[in-house]
Amino acid sequence: MNRQRLGLWWFIGTLVIALLLMLVPLPDVLAPFKPYWPALVLLYWSLESGDRVTLGLAFSMGLAADLLDGVLLGEQALRLTALVFIALRFRSRLRFFPMWQQTLAVLALLFNDRILLTIVRVFAGDALPPASWWISPFVGAALWPFVFLLLDDLRMRLRLQ
């Protein structure tokens, strides 16, 4: 029982840390390389414990991220819901992919997410972003194996579900 509760706290903790990482700025030069942390952590959890991650959770996490970002309420909610939906749909396949295939799949998901974001921003009346806009999904995909292994390893060590 206690272990289960600890598992739940660990789950919530990683999500909150992902939101915080989203807020922590990088130096100017590195700013375009910043990965979309909430997406990576949500992807990990939707692959590893698919019953915890639902569309509602993704939606509310997106809303929280929107409140923190303070730009357009619903933007990240839309993106994260779409992302988690695709991940959950193909969960059983993605889980048993070898790591490099999984990484490619994550790249595709993150890229799709960027496209969605671009569409939303253009509709909201913003100018088209510069080329460095498209770097972030690649960085996210490159980090994916490490995020996955780190979170998995920590989970194993803490013997959590």
Binding site: L20, V71, L72, L73, A77, L78, A82, R89, P130, S136
Partner: protein, 307 residues
């Protein structure tokens, strides 16, 4: 996890729920975009949000503290020396200006204008938080409880940085002048030409897309706020023209300018408290000459619309 008939789509999520959530998100976005009531929600959610901002700002704060703690004595002494020289120089300039300022004040009194050279400012610190990629925003550590109101200009030692767009209870969000959604009425110091500077999409420049073809604009010209629009007081440095090219339409000259404020590196900024009084184009001069009543019948009206 329920096994569905199609082996490809074995999952536990319904498309219907996806559509529901996506529709909800879109409704939220449209409502928010139209009414902009987000700030009300944010203001109420600020109780939860602001501690997170402070927490996320800690790494940057830590880096600043570390850079001071580990800076060697020599560098700090040098910096101190340089600051003292700067202060000396600034004070000397100020003293020389004092007489001119007083004269100016006197002349203005004669002219019966209210605008004064005094500044009513508030010091604020930048919280190092990333508010989204390519969003040219800053977070300051003062908010509505400190008397900050949306629309207040923000400057640093070198020039205009932006304006407050959102005041939360103890923090506030600043839109930088380099934001593509920002437009700032400026005047070119050398010629007095008035135009508008927009933010650019790659973020560290200003664009002046509507300069008349015949205008005299050169590289190195300094831009000042013109005070039109009433939001920024006139006379603050904005930037320096870096490049002038004919616009793609061929109807205007297009200039790029580099902002003079240290947009990405400022830690301490100043909030201007006196909102500039709204100034528009000057009142049309009252016509000189004998009053209309003396004019012969029919001669008074056509003069108003020359064709």
């Amino acid at each position: 996890m329920g096994q569905e008939s199609s082996p490809l789509f074995a999952g536990s999520t319904g498309t219907l729920r996806l559509i529901g959530y996506l529709a909800l998100a879109m409704v939220l976005m449209v409502l928010d975009h139209r009414n902009g009531w987000m700030w009300r929600i944010r203001y109420n959610a600020a109780v939860a949000v602001e501690p997170l901002y402070r927490l996320a700002g800690l790494p940057v704060e830590g880096m600043r503290t570390l850079s001071v703690a580990f800076a060697d004595r020599q560098r700090l002494t040098d910096q101190n020396q340089r600051l003292r020289e700067d202060l000396l120089l600034a004070n000397a300039k100020l003293n020389r200006m004092a007489a001119v300022a007083q004269q100016n004040e006197h002349l203005k009194q004669l002219l019966d204008t209210q605008r004064s050279l005094e500044l009513n400012v508030q010091l604020a610190r930048v919280i190092g938080v990333d508010l989204g990629a390519y969003r040219h925003r800053l977070l300051l550590n003062v908010g509505a409880r400190d008397g900050v109101k949306p629309g207040q200009p923000v400057i640093d030692a070198r020039g205009v940085m932006g304006q407050v767009i959102q005041a939360l209870p103890t923090t506030s969000v600043v839109m930088l002048i380099t934001d593509p959604n920002n437009a700032l009425p400026v005047t070119i110091e050398r010629t007095g030409l008035r135009t508008i500077a927009y933010g650019s999409r790659d973020g560290d420049r200003l664009l002046l897309p509507t300069i008349p073809m015949a205008a005299d604009v050169r590289e190195g010209d300094r831009l000042l706020t013109s005070g039109l629009g009433g939001r920024f007081p006139p006379g603050f440095p904005v930037g320096e023209i870096a490049r002038v090219t004919p616009a793609a339409t061929g109807m205007f000259l297009e200039a790029q300018a580099t902002p003079s404020a240290d947009i990405s590196r400022s830690e301490d900024v100043l909030l201007l408290h006196d909102q500039a009084e709204p100034t528009g184009p000057p009142e049309p001069a009252s016509p000189m000459g004998p009053p209309d009543t003396l004019a012969p019948d029919g001669a008074g009206t056509p003069a108003k619309e020359p064709r």
